[in-house]
Symmetry: C2
Subunit: 671 residues, 2 copies
């Protein structure tokens, strides 16, 4: 068994790798190549400084269209006392950029010149008159761009390590170069392994896992200046993996060995590394990503290149772990190998954490967060923590690292977020929280086209109102029935937001009913069926409007929740209720029509309900939310919503409660 | 003559173009294509939203290596009261990621299992025992990743308009897609025109201008999601340009017609547009960039594609104007055409302007600035304003727009800077100011390798000390001789920095002398030659150490400055003095050996002088400047300096004045 099985701190892992690379002569730029100056060079890294070969301009150049002349010969000229100069001898027409004749030291702009003929008579030939008349005296070097104004030969244009940009291509060309030396792109082999894997595009069976980590890793490598080669999937057989790794090590600069997700598969990786070289690290105290493996593989006799060893990174199988392993270990290595002096340094901002999180004390914990500005405060909302949830990375606006030794953070804590996005995008971010509705996905699409980004968190209707009170979102979706009044949302707002003026706007009407398997095999037709012994119900979480609706009707019908199997099993969205029914984990669940239809299930309609948006009045000041209101009257958008079944938009945009009413309500006790 | 000859405001110009494009059906995504999910898709823009086809996981998956079982059958199990389950019937081994059997609803981790044989005896066969013993009770769904935990089929994965990143490739694959729809890349023709132009790599003659604008424009187009095609240079002949433009318009989505730098050449462009289509704008009130032309070209009968018209941008010839025209007009158009929902939005920061600038009131003035943090203040130092100075764009850290109607800004004004660089790079920026020395270029290169960026401004030794006093730089290079004492820099520091504790460190010793043409044709051997009638001198600016040195020796030798021709003609660096001599603009100038040798000139050594670094003590607190001190003892760096002629590093690093001494000096009046 390996001595490295215990996780070691990140820094120590990085130091071990760096030491091994230094000893192998690989902690430096791998090589360089000379390439031509064209748009294909974009993003490459200069391996040598660029010193100017040529000055720019490389001669004294006219800075205006006009006549080049000797400044001395205009001495004393003035409006009432012109000088006349003979062309060719004393003055020569020049366009901007033209070289001055050797004898000239100034240019008079064409607008200041009177072209005249041999006898001094005016002429229309602006460019080739016989003489010119000038009524101004020019100091030497007027309207001349002297040699070297921009660039003086031998000066430093760009240091080695610079990344080639469009304008730097211009400066390199201007300084007399037609080629430049750049570091060669490190060649990286990406090896997916796992018997359970199937390539993208193949029909998946139960138990198949779509192999996409290699695509993510290859794309990362390319984005960071390397050149990735994706190998085909190697099944979990020791000798086959050894063979593939050796083949990769012989021809590439770096091997990324992506293990399957099981612990067994990771052990395979470490044994392969021990077999073919040296295992440096097995397990790093980071989360997610623990089972990272670092090592050096010996090149075989047939192996190309000067290096005798090739580093290998055993990348964990879970997709979030894999992508973070790329950021933490592979990106810095590629920066070193390309000599990139300014590698990807994410912008770091301060934000306020929206909810409490716990973290294992022994690990550096890389927490994905959504970031947005709400009411002038920058907020960081932790996303799903699971290593398997690739969507958490796609939706993440940044990463907050909870360092080793810290066991968690309280809500309201100030955290640093390494941003994946530009801050300008965050300003266009609308945080919507509360109850989930599928029309919000459609809204997200339409808002994107209008320069807004909708970030939604599904915490149920009540949770949404609480979040609004805490100033953690711009609006909340809510469908909270008041069992006393039969009204929607009004009493909840009074209860949860007594001091926050809001506007309550109707969004959609929708059907709620029981989501059941195709064909409704158990013949469920009403809530009374839920207590049947053969029925396993899928419930929504406390605070969800659908849960309130259920409880209201159960009470009305005299049904005791404890009699319902599965009543304690909570899901957080309509779609996950539907997914649970689709998977056979339950027999039915209350939800909206669209969720049932989306997963090709059947639907037993029971109730019609109103789904509203609750918007604090202070957010009407800017134009952040304007596109939402525009869309409420947008025919194309309404059509898109109607393609989802069970929705009614007839009341969309109705203002149920406006800021003023609310204020009035608040102060009706007397002011 | 065109009605559009007068510059119009930027916004109006953009609106005219947008209106014309809308009418032509071209103010929208140009088209889309279906591409496979791989690393080649990086940076493309989704033209359709991605809705999940498949849930992820798409079955109930084991979240640990262990045994799948029915949770009910573990009820009541505890350390003292184990349950024994038969494998295959009641428990089945699963790896992480494996699907659960239909009848199972929980996974017990392998570490919690005692594998036993038929008689209950322990066995080593972890995976295939006959029975397993369990001493814990598992709630249903323990260690199971339920179907849809990450992705539920039909949910929105990414909205149209998203840019494809490595992780988004993963999420799209995970949701059951093997291809995606992206907007097609707009095809952009880049046409350089001008008889004076020569392609990169050709030998240049006087008057030749190296054509590199097309490279910069093509690289911009590619960086912004287009596909550029560079045409060969068309000489300034009307019918040839018409032909090239028509050919380009027939096959491309956008034509960039890059005029020569002369006013005449620009008129050509507008006449071509009028001939082949409609001229929309001729001249925009922006600086630099005025002569921008916007228009629509009619496609000929042979022209491909559905569009009947193709937009054309007449790009000015000056390189800075050309690059900014790209940013202002072409980038937004490409973002529109690709449907990019988050186009390049430069980060905007606030900074303090270091010096007064003037600006034409009628123009939006795009001023390039260097940005760095000095003593906790973010400073913006305006770079050269010339439209011809491409290096000003390369060195620029950002752009400050002085809007129309504002005629200038005072030093100390708060300005907004649109950053070209990441803020983290600015934190690594060392501002060096003062006297120019060629070893600073070498230093810049070596600092780059050590994660620092050296930004230098050459304002002369005195100017440097003044800038330090104003807190505008981290260090100053100075070689100010005190005529009274013969000492370097000490008295100047006392005079200019009475209240700022600094460390004065010797950098290099160097020779100063007269830079003369190869072979010294006028036989100049000492300062006394400067008053000769046939000698035209090139001087340095007031405050430059070299100027002080000259004046000191002139006075000592009784030479009257007014007797020196060219005494009033000031250059700002040693290299520009050398360039002036090389070009024949003058016969000699005082400067350092290296400058003469760099331009292959001759050198008449006259004086030896000391060049020091002046560093405020407060900047020793962080580690920003540490690499400079490390380099003073770095053999490789010293070797690099010795390759420049005339330098002596024997005293490098000597501390002439330390903070304490300085304090002592300050307070010696009594404290």
């Amino acid at each position: 068994m390996s001595v490295y099985l215990n996780d070691i701190p990140l820094q120590e892992a990085q130091e071990r790798l760096q030491k091994a690379l230094s000893e192998a002569g690989l902690w430096q730029v791998l090589g360089e190549e000379e390439i031509t100056l064209d748009e294909g060079a974009l993003g490459r890294v200069l391996s040598r400084p660029v010193w100017a070969r040529l000055s720019s301009p490389h001669y004294h150049a006219a800075a205006m269209d006009g006549f080049a002349l000797r400044a001395e010969e205009t001495a004393g000229a003035m409006p009432s006392n012109p000088r006349v100069l003979k062309t060719d001898e004393q003055a020569v027409y020049v366009d901007t950029g033209d070289p001055l004749p050797d004898w000239a030291n100034a240019v008079v702009p064409i607008e200041q010149v009177e072209p005249v003929g041999a006898q001094g008579e005016p002429t229309d030939d602006l460019r080739h008159p016989i003489q010119i008349r000038i009524r101004m005296s020019l100091p030497p070097w007027t309207y001349v761009r002297p040699l070297g104004e921009d660039i003086v030969a031998t000066q430093l244009i760009l240091p080695a390590g610079s990344i080639v940009t469009p304008v730097s291509l211009g400066a390199i060309a201007a300084s007399g170069h037609s080629t430049m030396w750049v570091s060669r792109k490190p060649r990286v082999a990406v090896l997916p392994t796992g018997t359970e894997l199937v390539p993208v595009g193949h029909k998946v069976q139960r138990g198949d896992i779509i192999e996409y980590n290699s695509i993510v890793l290859a794309a990362q490598v390319n984005a960071w200046g390397g050149e990735a080669k994706r190998f085909t999937i190697t099944p979990d057989r020791f000798e086959l993996i050894c063979e593939a790794v050796q083949r990769a090590a012989d021809c590439y600069d770096l091997v990324l060995l992506n293990a399957g997700s099981s612990a067994g598969s990771e052990d395979f990786s470490s044994r392969v590394v021990e077999q073919l070289g040296e295992l440096l690290v097995h397990g790093v105290a980071i989360r997610p990503g623990h089972p990272v493996i670092l090592g050096m593989i010996r090149r075989s006799e047939q192996g190309g290149g000067a290096a005798k060893q090739v580093p290998i990174v055993g990348v964990p199988g879970y997709p979030v772990s894999a992508a973070l392993t790329g950021e933490i270990f592979i990106q810095p290595l590629l920066a070193r190998w390309t000599g990139n002096a300014a590698p990807l340094q994410p912008l770091e901002i301060e934000a306020t954490l929206t909810r409490k999180v716990t973290s294992p004390a022994g690990d550096d914990d890389y927490m994905r967060v959504a970031v947005g500005e709400v009411g002038g405060r920058m907020l960081a909302a932790p996303a799903s923590r699971g290593a398997g949830v690739i969507t958490s990375l796609v939706r993440a606006d940044g990463i907050t690292v909870i360092p080793r030794g810290v066991q968690g953070l309280e809500a309201g804590a100030a955290v640093k977020v390494r941003l994946y996005r530009k801050p300008a995008e965050l300003k266009n971010t609308i945080f919507v929280i509360g109850s989930h509705d599928m029309t919000l996905d459609v809204l997200a699409q339409y808002l994107t086209e209008r320069g807004r980004r909708l970030v939604s968190a599904n915490v149920g209707s009540q949770g949404g109102l609480v979040a609004l009170r805490r100033g953690e979102a711009h609006l909340a979706g809510s469908h909270l029935l008041d069992p006393q009044t039969g009204e929607y949302n009004l009493s909840a707002i009074k209860q949860y937001l007594p001091n926050l003026p809001v506007r309550l706007v109707t969004w959609v009407g929708r059907e709620q009913g029981l989501i059941v398997p195709k064909g409704n095999p158990k013949q469920i037709i009403s809530l009374t069926d839920l207590t049947r012994e053969d029925i396993h119900y899928i419930n929504r979480q406390r605070g969800a409007g659908t849960r309130v609706l259920l409880d209201f009707h159960l009470q009305k019908m005299g049904i005791i929740p404890q009699d319902i199997r599965g009543y304690d099993q909570e899901e957080y969205t309509h779609l996950s209720v539907a997914a649970a029914v689709a998977s056979g984990r339950g027999d039915c669940g209350l939800g909206v029509t669209a969720a049932a239809y989306a997963l090709e299930l059947d639907f037993v309609p029971l109730f019609h309900e109103r789904y509203d948006l609750v918007i604090p009045c202070s957010f009407f000041e800017g134009d952040l939310l304007t596109p939402i209101f525009d869309l409420m009257a947008d025919g194309e958008f309404l059509k898109a919503i109607h393609t989802l079944p069970g929705y009614d938009t007839s009341q969309m945009g109705n203002i149920v409660l406006d800021c003023w009413n609310n204020y009035a309500d608040l102060f009706k006790g007397g002011l």
